[in-house]
């Protein structure tokens, strides 16, 4: 038996840059079963109410990655987002094009910025020309080697993460979650010979701009978990090259900051990241804060049992950045 239908008000973003001076939201109200995907609602609008609505889609089965868009504040595949919970939560459904890419028309964006970042990480295997693959057989991997990929090969390049990412929004030099998750996939591939080069390069090409806000991981329809793989890349980059950039110096500096006391020394951290000369550039802001919070210049008391922290550091130093 079919589910009872509910009234579904959809506020759909409409914009044709060639004709409109500004975007507008058009209200369509449909009667739909709660499990109806947002994409089906949009296609119903296009078929029955308004043939001018532009929307990109293909498989309708969460495989092709064509129909990523903003459903309310969430970055989602429209084909697998049911209308019912949205109406329950918000009383309506606001549908907008993906962010961080220019709108071509209505819900269709120009994905050029997304693909440019993807090309930037050189998403192909770099094999050793001196060691051609043995004729007639594939290149076998152990279960552990396959495990190391995590779910990165499942990425369908839908750009939902790119749309959700506040670092991409604030800084176009950040490669974005998808490109970095793909980079990870090549870095851990035992057939790839460029691991070291890739890790060294990415340290200066945006790796440390990830905010670890995890919006990419929450929005990914395939559970690729880009933010967690970006974390892995950071640890691997420090192990490969050492802490050479502000980002890695800050991470390793923070770690060392705690080693003998167990508690953060805020002032010392500034020196550890910027060095003595660089710290001078922070003095103005330091005085600004110190006026209300004078204890920032005081050295905090070590925790009780700080020697345990030092022992833990000694035992695990070799596991991470190798210092």
């Amino acid at each position: 038996m079919a589910d009872a239908t509910i009234p579904v008000p959809l506020d759909v973003y409409r914009f044709d840059p060639a004709r409109d001076s500004a975007p507008r939201y058009q209200r369509y109200t449909l009667d739909l079963a709660p499990h109806t995907p947002v994409l089906s609602a949009l296609l119903k609008i296009r078929a029955e109410l308004d043939p001018t609505l532009s929307v990109r889609f293909s498989c309708r089965s969460a495989i092709c990655g064509s129909c990523a868009m903003q459903v309310y504040s969430k970055s989602r595949l429209a084909c697998e987002t049911p209308v019912g919970p949205e109406v329950e939560l918000h009383g309506r459904i606001v549908v907008e094009p993906m962010r961080n890419q220019p709108v071509v028309r209505d819900l269709v964006v120009d994905q050029a910025p997304f693909w440019k970042q993807y090309e930037g990480i050189e998403p192909h295997l770099k094999l050793d020309p001196a060691k051609p693959m043995p004729a007639g057989r594939t290149n076998p991997m152990s279960p552990e080697q396959v495990e190391a990929f995590h779910d990165t090969p499942r990425c369908i390049a839908c750009a939902a993460c790119f749309s959700a990412c506040p670092a991409v929004e604030a800084d176009p030099s950040f490669p974005g979650p998808m490109a970095l998750a793909k980079l990870y996939r090549f870095v851990v591939d035992p057939r790839d010979t460029a691991r070291q080069d890739r890790l060294v390069r990415i340290q200066t090409e945006g790796l440390w701009l990830c905010l670890r806000c995890h919006l990419c991981t929450d929005s990914c329809p395939k559970n690729v978990r880009p933010s967690e793989r970006i974390r892995d890349l950071k640890e691997m980059a420090v192990a490969a090259q050492g802490a050479t950039e502000l980002g890695s110096r800050h991470a390793v500096g923070f770690k060392e900051n705690l080693r003998s006391t167990g508690i953060l020394n805020e002032m010392k951290l500034v020196r550890q990241t910027y060095g003595v000369v660089g710290t001078l550039g922070q003095v103005g802001q330091g005085i600004h804060v110190w006026r209300k919070k004078p204890e920032i210049t005081k050295r905090p008391h070590p925790i009780e049992g700080a020697e345990e922290i030092e022992q833990i550091y000694k035992a695990l130093d070799a596991e991470g950045d190798g210092r």
Partner: protein, 294 residues
């Protein structure tokens, strides 16, 4: 209710007002705080970037301290909450656990995994409960429009934090409503404050902070409130930089979570350390008015 109080570094240093307000609110609500001077820093996500196993180990040590006392852990920082929750989860992975135990067992530290890590926001909403909280309000925050700012690690990854929907939470807004404030919904409330890259690329970090504050302002907020002292640094102590990046004056008062609760329960601005903020809170306090309800 008795909890192991994990203040985190900032609340013991530049964010002391957060510790003051937490203690005031917990006393008013009958939440007993057990203190452990042995707790270490959670690593703030930075230690995790440098060395995952080490990060899990120092936090499992913290969890084991609470476990020995038979208490759940109370955090007052979204990042501490995230790191300690993550340690609980990652320690359940046998490979990680083997590494971590190699460091902890020689020190006689064992952890069975029984400690729940609870942020003050969750304790107030789930354990104290909004009806009980509402009944204790002595000075309703009537008329004050407050934009909640959650802090990423309290919310996401949402399948790991075990809380509410990570992109569309509502616990903080429901709490503000119970205190008599008018919650302001704006997109930036679940986004990043820029803090993690404040050292890496300050201009980008400040642009992010400025965007979220301006967003709250443009949606009518008189003030913002955050359960995370790191967000508070970005939004309050560095608001001057955020204003420069946003190219506009913002003048947005930013409260710590227990400060808004304390105000509604009748605490004085002095008891909540409001004079320690970089952006004055006077305009927001004037809107609440001195209408103490007996």
């Amino acid at each position: 209710m008795k909890l192991a109080y994990y203040p985190g570094c900032v609340a013991q240093e530049s964010g002391k007002e957060l510790d003051m307000a937490t203690r005031w609110v917990c006393r008013a609500l009958g939440i007993e705080l057990a203190e452990f001077p042995t707790f270490s820093c959670c690593g703030s996500g930075f230690v995790d970037e440098a060395n995952e196993a080490l990060n899990v180990a120092i936090n499992v040590r913290n969890l084991a301290i609470a476990e020995r006392a038979g208490l759940d852990l109370l955090t007052i920082c979204s990042t501490c909450q995230g790191m300690l929750t993550l340690a609980n989860l990652r320690y359940a992975d046998p490979t990680v656990r083997a590494k971590v135990d190699r460091a902890l067992h020689p020190l006689g530290i064992e952890y069975r995994g029984s400690v729940r890590v609870k942020h003050l926001l969750r304790v107030l909403v789930e354990d104290v409960g909004l009806p009980a909280l509402r009944s204790k309000v002595r000075r309703p925050l009537g008329g004050l429009k407050v934009g909640a700012f959650y802090g990423c690690h309290l919310l996401r990854p949402s399948d790991e934090t075990g809380g509410e929907p990570g992109e569309e939470p509502k616990s903080f807004e429901s709490l503000l409503d119970a205190l008599g404030a008018e919650p302001v919904y704006y997109r930036g409330r679940v986004l990043c404050c820029g803090f993690p890259i404040q050292f890496v690329k300050p201009e980008t970090a400040s642009r992010i902070a400025g965007k979220q504050i301006a967003d709250a302002r443009d949606h009518g907020a008189d003030a913002m409130a955050t359960p995370c002292p790191l967000c508070h640094i970005s939004l309050d102590a560095y608001q001057n930089k955020a204003e420069r990046a946003a190219g506009r004056s913002l003048g947005m008062p930013v409260f710590h979570l227990p400060q808004v609760v304390g105000l509604a329960l009748g605490a004085s601005p002095e008891e909540l350390g409001l004079a320690r903020h970089l952006v004055p809170t006077d305009a927001a306090l004037a809107k609440i008015g001195p209408t103490a309800r007996a």
